[in-house]
Structures are given as structure tokens and as C-alpha cells.
């Protein structure tokens, strides 16, 4: 067998599929991906990228179909460029993200229950109280760096507490997600930097997932309760608590930062939100569609299969560009406009199908609380300098967002 490329089986140019000599993980593309996404969509339903010997999809229909076809395009071989069947991953694979049915069905059920709408409803009063405290503090400052002061501050204040963590290392719990997400990319500078920090951060995270480090009334306790009930093992419970921390912090930080960026860029939409608070939840859906906090995850063809009629060989990695799908004009009409009344049902920001984000209810709850309090108290959100994006192999996130907040 020939040597692996980026930890997966080499795939020769399939011929009938358009070939595109590009690097999807070029820091310039990651920082400002819109023209790259448009180029990807214009080339066809599926494109061959020789640099990494992978296929890529970005049109809405092909992306949705491939991403949710868990029988043919599996997650158990990794949702990045490494094929876990051929190479040992950097950490023990997630037992909910990087797994297929029937194992996935069992763990997913436990996590769905722990993160159900009912559970989130019970957290909302606490989210609201914390939002009031943090929003009042940023209003008092006036000029803020919104990534640190709001986007990180809010999830760090509410999420570890919701999980039941008794001690929090704010930097580690934010950075663990970005390490995990950079790891799904190629062996580039971003991934190498993430891997260099991984031992220290992952060790802290793994230790923090132990039962004795958690309260008996949080989301973590619900998961350990499933172990007591025999649905999962105690070791699996610890792994699922780890998933809260990899997937539940950096993603929400990104969602909040991106939301504030959208409103700073579109003052009329902030005004519309202030006039009709029932648009808070639809507005967050539009933020998700417009900014795609997770821009790209991969799947692996587990059998010889096809995408839009083009044959795809077993072992082929397919990068699914969720951000490109969320801006496909064939689906959205005017995708580049940020409209909080769009109600973009079917956006791909939380994925689709059995692997659709299991934490989406709590993410919506956090954003609902924060945006509602901000809309009540802040008349205008204005840029106070250039927004700077932070390249990541899977996350489309801000590094810095200077804002001026003008209260009522």
C-alpha cells in the first residue's frame, strides 16, 4: 500500500470530477472564505483537490446529502483529514462525534436527554441573570473588545457551571475546542500549534471530567446518571463529559462573537431586533447561516459510493464546506445579506441528520439570554476598529472585535 497523505488513503484524480489546485486551509482563505466558497460552488457538485487528495462539496444539496448520509459517509473514520481506520488519532476518538450507529445511537440518546429543551429551560433563569451582570459590566466600559469581554466571558460564566464543574480554567476550556477543531485539518501550522498545546490542555480537561470533580445536579451528573442506570459505562460517561467541553465552549464563543459582528455591520438589523424581541431566536439562526461557526467537517466514504452521480471510492475523504452551503444562492436567494427575519430553516451550521449538533438547544438558550438582555439595554453597537478573524481549520471565529456600546 502506498504512503498515506494527511493520514488518509491517497485518491488519484478521478477524472470526471473537476480538479481544483487550491488549499482550503490557507490562512487567507480561512480568514475570509466567501470568495473561496463561491469558487468551490461554481466548479461543480463535487471537486477534487489534489493538494490533499480529497473531494470537496459546497453546493447546498450535495453538502447536505453527503454530510447526513451516515451509512455511506461515516464519521467513525474521523471528521478531519486523518482516517482513523488507517492511523491512530491524536486523542481517543469521541464516542459521539466520531462514531457510527449502533454505538452512536446509544451515546447520542444519553446526550440528547442531558441537553433536551426541557433541561435547557431549567437553565434559562441563570443564563438571564448572568447575562444581565455581564452586559451591565460591558455597558459601563463603553468601548470593549467583544471577543474577550462578551463572547468568551458569557459561556465561560454559564457553561461550566451548567455542566457542574467545580473549578474552571477559563483559558483551557476555551482553547480545548479550538485545539480539537484545528486538529481536523491538514498538517499545517495551525494544527502543529494546536498539537503543541494539546498535552497540557487535554490533560486538564480529561481530569476535569472525572465524576468527583462535578456537582451532583449538573449536565455532567445527568450523564453519569446514565452510567448508574447501565446505559453507558462510567468511562463512557467521562468521555461524554469531555464532549461537552470540546464542543460546547469555543463554538458558543464563536457564535456570540459572530452575532455581535453581524449586528455591528448591520445597524438596521439591531434596530429591528430591538423593536421586535420575538426575532431574537430567528436572528441567531440567521447568524449561524450567515457566519457558519463550524465552516468545514469531513466525512469518509466507507464503501464505494457516489456524490451527485460521480463515483467515490471507499476510503475517500470528503470535506463538506458547511459555510459554502449556507451561502449557496440556489438555496438562499440573497445569501450575502444578513436578514434576521429570514428564518433559515435547513441551514447547515449545526450539521444535519443523526450527527446534528447535540448541544444546539443550550447554544440557542445562551444566545437567547444574552441577545435579549443586550437588545433591552443597548441602543447601538458600533465598530471601534477592524474586526480580525482567527484562522482555524474548522471554525470561523473572530480573534478581536473592538466595539462601542451605546446604552439606551
Amino acid at each position: 500500500m502506498s504512503a498515506l497523505i494527511e493520514g488518509h488513503r491517497p485518491v488519484a484524480d478521478p477524472g470526471a470530477i473537476p480538479t481544483w489546485d487550491t488549499d482550503p486551509y490557507d490562512p487567507a482563505v480561512l480568514a475570509d472564505p466567501h470568495s473561496w466558497w463561491a469558487d468551490l460552488r461554481s466548479r461543480g457538485d463535487v471537486v477534487y483537490i489534489p493538494r490533499y487528495e480529497v473531494l470537496a462539496v459546497g453546493r447546498y444539496d450535495a453538502t447536505r446529502t453527503t454530510f447526513s448520509d451516515h451509512d455511506n459517509f461515516v464519521s467513525s473514520r474521523g471528521i478531519g483529514l486523518n482516517d482513523f481506520k488507517l492511523e491512530t488519532p491524536w486523542r481517543p476518538p469521541s464516542i459521539i462525534l466520531e462514531v457510527d450507529p449502533p454505538d452512536h445511537t446509544r451515546t447520542r440518546k444519553v446526550m440528547s436527554r442531558a441537553l433536551s429543551p426541557k433541561v435547557v429551560k431549567g437553565l434559562m433563569d441563570g443564563f438571564r441573570a448572568t447575562a444581565e451582570r455581564i452586559v451591565d459590566a460591558v455597558i459601563a466600559k463603553g468601548r470593549i473588545e467583544a471577543v474577550a469581554d462578551l463572547a468568551e466571558a458569557f459561556p465561560v460564566a454559564v457553561f461550566p457551571g451548567a455542566v457542574g464543574m467545580t473549578d474552571v480554567h477559563p483559558r483551557h476550556i476555551v482553547d480545548y475546542g479550538s485545539i480539537v477543531f484545528n486538529a481536523v485539518g491538514p498538517d499545517n501550522a495551525l494544527r502543529r500549534a494546536a498539537m503543541a498545546r494539546a498535552p497540557e490542555v487535554a490533560a486538564w480537561i480529561n481530569a476535569a471530567c472525572a465524576r468527583e470533580r462535578l456537582t451532583d445536579d449538573g449536565l455532567g451528573a445527568l450523564v453519569y446518571g446514565a452510567a448508574d442506570a447501565g446505559e453507558i459505562t462510567e468511562a463512557e460517561a467521562a468521555m461524554l463529559v469531555r464532549s461537552f467541553l470540546s464542543a460546547g465552549v469555543d463554538t458558543t464563543v464563536t457564535g456570540i462573537g459572530n452575532a455581535l459582528w453581524c449586528f455591528a455591520q448591520n445597524p438596521g438589523q439591531w434596530q429591528a431586533l430591538r423593536e421586535d424581541r420575538s426575532l431574537v431566536r430567528p436572528a441567531f439562526e440567521e447568524v449561524l447561516r450567515h457566519t457558519s461557526p463550524v465552516h468545514t467537517f469531513a466525512r469518509t466514504a466507507n464503501v464505494d459510493t457516489a456524490i451527485a452521480g460521480h463515483p467515490v471510492a471507499e476510503g475517500t475523504k470528503v470535506i463538506c464546506c458547511l459555510g459554502a452551503a449556507n451561502h449557496d444562492p440556489a438555496k438562499w436567494g440573497d445569501p450575502d445579506r444578513f436578514r434576521i427575519d429570514r428564518r433559515p430553516v435547513g441551514h447547515m451550521a449545526f450539521g444535519a441528520g443523526i450527527h446534528g449538533c447535540v448541544g444546539q438547544n443550550i447554544a440557542r438558550g445562551e444566545l437567547d439570554a444574552l441577545l435579549t438582555v443586550m437588545a433591552e439595554r443597548i441602543a447601538r453597537i458600533e465598530p471601534a476598529g477592524d474586526a480580525v478573524w482567527r484562522p482555524n481549520n474548522a471554525i470561523h471565529s473572530l480573534d478581536r472585535l473592538p466595539l462601542t456600546l451605546i446604552p439606551n
Binding site: 433536551s116 429543551p117 430553516v345 444535519a352 444546539q360
Partner: protein, 107 residues
Amino acid sequence: MVKVTYVQADGSETTVDGTPGDSVMATALANDVPGIVGECGGSMMCATCHCHIDPAWADKTGPRMDGEDDMLDCAVSEVTETSRLSCQVKLTPDMDGLRVILPEEQI
């Protein structure tokens, strides 16, 4: 194509053409049928696509999926024996004429 009739809580009916393989939830949204929200997009993570299957069709639509009970438990309107999450009911050719009754509220 299979015909699907959605009955609103006020008794009004809408009949649309559905495609085998699509869910009852996606078929409603694609045809602008009110009464179904489908917030999570079909990942069985919310209960905003709650519906009741006309008992005459229950054997065709089959039993609830694994995990569906837990999520139905979060539905806003009353859940009964006929309750399903419409994202988990996939149309098949033998469902032509399916009747779906929608609850008063989803959120």
C-alpha cells in the same frame, strides 16, 4: 408522489404532494404548511415538529424511533399515543393519503 394532508388545530386542512424519502416535517416546511417549526432541522434535538398520526395510518408509519420518546417528553402540547416527531416519519409510497394532525402549539 404521495399526498399528505395536514390538519391544523382549528380543523382546517392542507393537502400537499410529498416525495418518498422526505420526512413529514420537511414536506410541511417545503410547502409552507403552518403548524410545524422544525427548529433543529430534523436531528431529533427539539420537539417543535410534534404531530399526531391519524390512527388509520399508524401501522404504515410504524413505531417511534429510538430516543423519540425522550424528545417528545419536551413537547409543549399534550403528547398522546398517536404523537410522533414529524422529522422521524419518512414518507414511503404506501403512505399516499396520509393524514397528520397538528397540535395547538410547538414552542
